[in-house]
Symmetry: C2
Subunit: 319 residues, 2 copies
């Protein structure tokens, strides 16, 4: 049973504790890393002992966050998870903390209450927007570096203020973080105005191999094992790819098929426009997700997997 | 000689006048149209007679701005230009207003002071940010529709808060406009999350035909007359294309060559990263522009034009 607490109560808990370990979710993104880095920096400025742990190595892209990775250098007395909706998202190497999380600071509606205390704002587009409030409630100064960390979370989880989760408050926090020294231009260039050579290759493959169905209302891309071995994309490159055709004029459903590690099994990512439920399509094949972004895993040959998903798409588009 | 005035003086002038014509710049974008639409709406709500004029037909994309286009239905007593840096940008059919502009509301550093009065904020990323202040200074209510108009200008001229011209104040105005009813999701989808079929075709052509030079530090794309006749892109599609390869990893200089109406003449768009001056490259061929975005027109065969620009790029990259 988790106890829901507000920003002030979370701040009080953090101020009272020491030897704090901050956990990020696996396959970490800018929001979990930026929020954790900001909290860790603030705790250390208060003279406390604190460090960050994550199942994965922190990607080189986030080096500027200067995250102090936990290395058994102190005995952990308090565990805080940041932007982690469920214990399964901690990853294998962090699984032993699953029942030891004292405080969770999160913005996911799907948070399943695994922590002792939970500070949750499900209407915030980023955990960083909540962490900003927690840090203010702690009475701590937001240094330019902390502002960079929080601005990272804010822009990466909102697509730079594009997603519909963006609210007036998001802009207000963005303004304040810029005033406090967040390097807007550097961060936006890094996350939104640069494309790796692999991402460019993948996009070229997509445009040359996209298949259209049902009066071009459905766009489907199959990434074969060969293509992945050839291009060697990062997982984030593939994630970015799945949303692209959904933005093409006339496309209501976009499907990305990628092979799973086991032969004869595929992961499907489904993205839809306003008129179609991605969740409904995914659910028909045993998956799930959100209204406009969902996924499922299907066993079979590539041809049979394609047929199966196209049948479900047809059912929904042509009913 | 123009007289520079502040926001309050501009507001006073507008409140004192009637039968007002608002001029946009030619090849209108979201900022000139959104700012003009907002001002016109506010003036009409005050019971004044006002309309908007532009050299070009207003693109269908901007239909929701409900711009009342001037149709000789009243005798113009006061002319206001919005987001127009120089009279040459009014376009041929508006050229007769060149020496009759009473008030110019603008944010271009290059504004050459052609109007009787000039209200200029060159550190604002969009004319809409200035128009927001003018309307507030007029003591007028910002209705949800006016908020939509202004938010349009704000997001289109900042790449949705991405460009380095974005300031804390831009976010503050963005927040306020959302609170006042601006339809964030609808507007962002329209301008940043949808791609026309022509734009997709053009991007595919680009990825398949991009040429790389000087250890891949220079990317060059030549659009031939045949390709343009085949795809029939909008001018904005081609404009969007020129900036893309600049964001590819390792690319310092991106060149887009397109044929001009006259045979044997080409327009070159040059986009550069932080280390190279686009203006310097363009100037070497008789053109000009900004540090990171410049252009020139060159006469010759496509081959000779390519050779000429690559020689200038080589001079700068390899010096």
């Amino acid at each position: 049973m988790t106890t829901k607490i507000d920003v002030n109560e979370a701040a009080e808990l953090l101020l009272a504790k020491d030897n704090i370990l901050i956990l990020c979710h696996k396959n970490p993104d800018g929001d979990t890393l930026g929020s954790a880095a900001a909290l860790c920096c603030v705790l250390r400025l208060l003279g406390k002992t604190a460090a960050v742990a994550c199942h994965n190595t922190i990607p080189a892209k986030y080096e500027y966050l200067n995250i102090p990775v936990y290395n058994d250098e102190f005995e952990v007395e308090y565990v805080v998870s940041v932007d982690v909706a469920g214990v399964n998202l901690l990853g294998e190497t962090m699984a032993h903390y699953a029942h030891k999380v004292d405080l969770c600071i999160d913005h996911h509606e799907s948070n399943n209450g695994y922590s002792n205390y939970l500070c949750l704002k499900e209407d915030y587009p980023a955990a960083a927007q909540l962490m900003y409030e927690v840090i203010l409630a702690m009475g701590c100064e937001i240094t330019p570096h902390v502002a960079d960390c929080l601005y990272t979370g804010l822009i990466t989880d909102t697509g730079c203020f594009k997603y519909s989760s963006t609210t007036p408050l998001t802009h207000v926090v963005g303004a304040r973080l810029m005033e406090l020294g967040a390097q807007h231009t550097m961060l936006v260039e890094k996350f939104f105005m640069s494309k790796t050579a692999k991402a460019v290759k993948l996009e070229k493959f997509m445009l040359n191999n996209l298949e259209y169905y049902f009066d071009d209302r459905c766009a489907l891309l199959a990434l074969t094992r060969d293509v992945i071995l050839d291009i060697k994309p990062e997982p984030t490159d593939i994630d970015g790819l799945s949303a692209m055709p959904r933005n093409f004029e006339g496309v209501d459903v976009s499907i990305l098929i990628r092979p799973l590690r086991e032969e004869g099994a595929y992961k499907l990512s489904i993205r839809t426009g306003e008129t179609v439920s991605a969740n409904e399509i995914a659910a028909a094949l045993g998956g799930g997700g959100h209204v406009r972004a969902a996924g499922c895993e299907v066993i079979g040959s590539l041809d049979s997997v394609k047929k199966a998903i196209l049948k479900e798409v047809e059912n929904i588009l042509c009913r």
